[in-house]
Structures are given as structure tokens and as C-alpha cells.
Amino acid sequence: MSLLALLPFYPLISFLILISFGKKLSWQLASTISIGAMLLSAGSSAVLINQLGNSESQLITAHLWSWFSLTTTQGSATINVAFYLDALSAVMIAVVTGVGLLIHIYAAAYMKSDENFSRFMAYMNLFIVAMLILVLADNLVLLYLGWEGVGLCSFLLIGFWYQEKANVLAARKAFIVTRIGDTSMAIGLFLLFKSLAQLTIVDVNQAAQLSWKIGDADAYWIALLLLGGAVGKSAQLPLQTWLPDAMAGPTPVSALIHAATMVTAGVYLIARMHEVFLLAPEVMTYTAWLGALTLLLAGVAALAQHDIKRVLAYSTMSQIGYMMLALGAGAWSAGVFHLMTHAFFKALLFLTAGSVILALHHQQNLFKMGGLFKKLPVESLLFIIGLYCLVALPGSSGFFSKEAIIAELWSSPTAGQGLWYCAILGALLTSIYSCRLFFLAFLGKARGNSNLEQHQDGHQENSSQGHLLRLPLILLALLSLFGGLISLDLSSVFSSAIATQAQTNFINEPSWLHTVAIVTPFIGIVFSWFYFKSYRENSCDNIKSSTGAISTFCKSGLGFDRLYQYVLVRPYCCIAKINRRDIIDQVLMLSAWYTKLWYEVLSASQNGSLRWYAAVIGIGVVGLAGVVAL
């Protein structure tokens, strides 16, 4: 078996061991197994990426077994369980296994005291399996398998602390909302198969180029339906509502699944199917607009959040909005590049936030934090690095990737100037909410009554745990700072896209574009320095969050939850409740009721009373004689 074929099997074996013997394993053993499996995966993916660079065809494939074949009149399409590694999936496996490994290490320390530790690590491993299958799948059905698999793992991990009702509901919401997107994707697959009789990605892309022209109706619908899937998974408008609630899961989960990997699966899907999307320029425009709207909406919502993890969740949503924007604009490489750098710095931010939360005894409310800079200097520094990248200040990895996206927007045929302004506005929002977050959490005076020092002592005793917590953070910080220097060469994947783009790239761009893009974050920082002065300098014990209508509206994610509650959830539950007894059954049972009615009437007449019988005879005689006489 080739190295590629084995890649998902290390975590799979680890998952099976942990889930079967979970209760019996000690912390050391369980964490060694799961981290070891991740180490093997990360090592093999490093080797594979190296091999890929050296290979002629820029392609490594591995065929495991033939899954099934679909026979049509045009012939038979065989769907294999087979893996396919090219530059795009290489980026993804690097992120999945690399960031995954670091988060596993962190998680092993973070979740040490949990009684279901090995179950947690098993789920994390299973997630890595599904994610690897998703990114490596050589056909869309296998991709769908991974796609659903990560959804299931996300569900399991959000609801990991299943005894809390809120977590359970958040998990259910995440699963069902993404399932809506998945269904759209499934319909897309049916249409794709009907139209092309192919489901293998390479064949689909080839056949699409051959059999469709630009703007073909089939291409339009397929791209739109696949976009629906991507929107669901990547928490974009209008299916974005699950992501903030998903923060109910343990923090490493938020870092791994809801920031670094799974939520970017939608981006990966679109990038993967870019040849179909290129044939449907309208859908690319939709993608760009959805991305832009999400970006702005999430930025505004992030401004009003109280929970540190929810701020980061909205920030993730908004950054994925950037990626979608990039994809919609045809800036494929830039989008994938931002995916990678975002994985680094957002994982860093989440994990650091996790450390802070742990240090504060699971206090997540920003208004109860403050002044942490002095108490947790290392974490603060790491957080600053993360925010530095998020805001995309020059020199950071985020800078390189975000600038690359913004640069391509102005002249893109499917995007245009309006979207460029959106992106700049988004960057401004990003810097403002980042500053607000930082000021609230780390500057000013300590609020709330968290007995931090006492915990610090406990922290010192458990130094191995502390090291395990900090090691991945530092590595991620380094990646965030210098990840921008990694040069991604995705030209082999996006060759056709580049070819089409080359023809249109002659629009004149004003010279001030880049300057504005670079300066924007600084404007945001300067603005917040003055606007959030109270947060920065406050000395009182409590600062009030604004409770105005707009603020509350933003805090609730611009009311989408409530809208869906009224438009979809309530009616569905209501109909279900009304019809619990099954109206059709009731109608059919009417015949039984009718029969029973006659049974009762007739049996009541047979009451055994002789006088009654005699009277009935009399009635009968009257009736008969009446008929005869009259």
C-alpha cells in the first residue's frame, strides 16, 4: 500500500483503539496513541508533499478498492475508493495534519482532566480521518462521504459535553443546518451525474470543459447547488447561523473544526470544482457577493459579542467570507492561500483563547476579563501575534494572503469594484473588532472576581501540562508570522483558470488601490484606540456593555436565528405538533368509527328488555299499518 493510501488509516486505527478500550486507557496511553497517529499522518503528508514536488505529473494517486459502479446507457461509471493528491489537496492535507497535530497536542493537555478524555481524542481522530478523506477523495461521492463524516464529528464534538441542554441543541443545529447544504450538494451530484455521467473529479472537470459552454444551464445549476453545499459547511449566508452556537464545544474543537479545517471545506469544494464554476460566471458572482455579505455581516456581529469565542467565531465566518470572495472573483490561489494562513492564525487565536479561558476557570465573557496582559504575558503575546495576522498588518501571513485577495478584486470579471469596497470595509471592521477584543480582554483593570493567582499556582505544579499547552501555541505563532513566506504554487491545479484570467487582466487599476488596502487596518486601529478608550483605560470594576437595540441586534447575529425560528423551525414544529396523531390515519379510522357507531346503536337496541321489544313491535305495526292504510 502506498503512503497516500495509508494516510487516513493511522488516525482511523487510533480511533478504533480509543473507542473500543477508551475507559481502560490511562491519559498517557490515550494521548500517546492519538498524538502518535497524528504524528504519523503529519510525517507521511510531509513526505508526500515532498514527493509531489519532485514528481513529474504533479500528481499522486492511490486506488484502494472499487466502491461501486453506476451503469447508464452511456456506459458504466466506476466510483472507487481512491485518493488523489495534487497541489490543492496537498495544501489541505498539510493544514489538516499539521494544524491537526498541533491541536491534538494542545487538546491532550487541555482536556486532561475530563473523564471522557479518550472518547474526545477518538472523536478528534475520527474527524481527521473524515477530513482527510474529504480532501483526498478522487470522486465526489467519496468526497461526500468525508463531507458527511466531518459533519458527524462536528456534531459529536460540539455536543461533547452532552449533559448540557444548550450543547445538545447547538450540536443538533449545526448538523441540521449543514445538512441542508449537504442536500443541496447531493442534488447537485445527481444533476451532475445525469448531465455528464461522471462523478470522478478529474473526469468531471474534463467532461465539463468539453460538453458545456460558458453559461450553460446545467453548469449554472450544478455550480449553484454545489455552492449551496459549500455555503452550509463554510457557514456563509444564509446558512451561517450554526457556527456561533457551535462554540459550545471544547475550545480545541473550535480551533480544529470550526476555524482551521472543516469550515474551509466549502472553500476547498469550490476550488476543487473550479472548472465547473468557471463555466458558470453568474454563480461565481453570487459566490463573491455571498462572501462579501457574510464578511460584512459577521464583522458587524463580531463587534457586539460578549463571549470571546463567539467573537472569534464571527471572525472566522468573516475570514471565510474573504475566501469565498476570492473564489468568486477567480482568485483561486489567493483564496486557498488565505485558507492556509487563516488556519494558522485562527487556530492560534482559538487555542490562546482556550488557555485564557482555562486560566480564568471557564470564564468566557469579555466583560468579566480585562487586565490579563500583566497576568498572562506569554498568552497575551501569542494573542497579539494572532490578532496581528488577523488584522493583516504588513509582514504577517494574513497580510500576504489578504492583500493578494484584495488586489485581484478590482479587475476581476466576476467581482468588480463594489466588492473591492466591501473587502476594504471588511478589513476596517476586522481591525476594529480585533482591537475591541484585545482592549477588553487584556488591557484595563481586571474585572470580575476570578482568582487567577491561585490557579497560576496549580498551573505551575502541572508544568508538563503547561508545556504541552504552550508548545503548539508557539509553533502556531511562528507559522502565523512566517507562513506568509511559504510560496504556494497552485498553477498546475488552476491552469485553466489562469488561462481564462490572462485574457481579461488588462483593466487599468488605479495606483491608490494598494495604498488604501495597506492603510485601512491602521485606520481601524487608530479609530478604536480612541473610540474604545473606556475599555482600554477603565479603572472601575464593571463596564457596561451597551444594551441598545442595535447592539442587541448585532449581538444576535443580525437576527437570522430569530428569522429562521419564525419562518422555518416554528412552522415545521407546529405542523408536526398539530399532525402528531396523523391526519391520514384519523381519516381512515373514520370508517372504524362509523362501524362502531352502528354497532353501538344496534347493540343499544338489543337491551334485553321485553317491554322494549314489544314496544318496537308496536312501532313496527304502526309503521306497516300506516303504509297500508294511507
Binding site: L602, S603, Q606, G608, S609, R611, G618
Partner: protein, 102 residues
Amino acid sequence: MTTIALTHVLILASILFVIGFVGVIVRKNTLFMLMSLEVMLNAVGVAFIGAGSAWQQADGQVMFILILTLAAAEVAVGLALLINMQRRYRSLDIDILARMRG
């Protein structure tokens, strides 16, 4: 000798019959039901005799004799049943026997 209108005879028979019938329906006492039954049978007899004399035929009286035997047999069986019932339920209330419900 004046004649009696057949109509009047039949009306008499009807009245008697109806009285008996009302008795059967209304009375709960089985003995009274039996007596009412006798009244009804008797009314039928009146009708037969009346008809027989109207047509100057003896058949009406033959029928009356048959009704008489019927009444005798009926009373014999009925009273025997009543004795049995009285013995068993210490009552002649017919509704006690209304156990044979549909």
C-alpha cells in the same frame, strides 16, 4: 231485530287490543303483562267472532276456539315461568331479566 255494525265490533276489538298492548308495554310486573296479553288475545277473539257472524260462517268461531287453546297453553307455560322466576329472583319485575344485552 236490529243489527250490529261490523265496524263497531272491530272498533271494540281494536280498543281492547290496544288496552292490552299498552298494558304489556307499560307494566313491569310480569303477571300483569300476562293478563294484558289475555286481554289482547280476547280482543282478537272478538274480531274473529264478529267477522264470522258478519259472513254467517262458523270459521270465525273455529278460530276463536283455536285462540282459546293457544291462550290456555300460553298461560300454563307463562305461569310456570313466573313461578320459576319468583322462586329465583323473589320478584316478578320483568326488567330484572333484561340481562341479555346486545
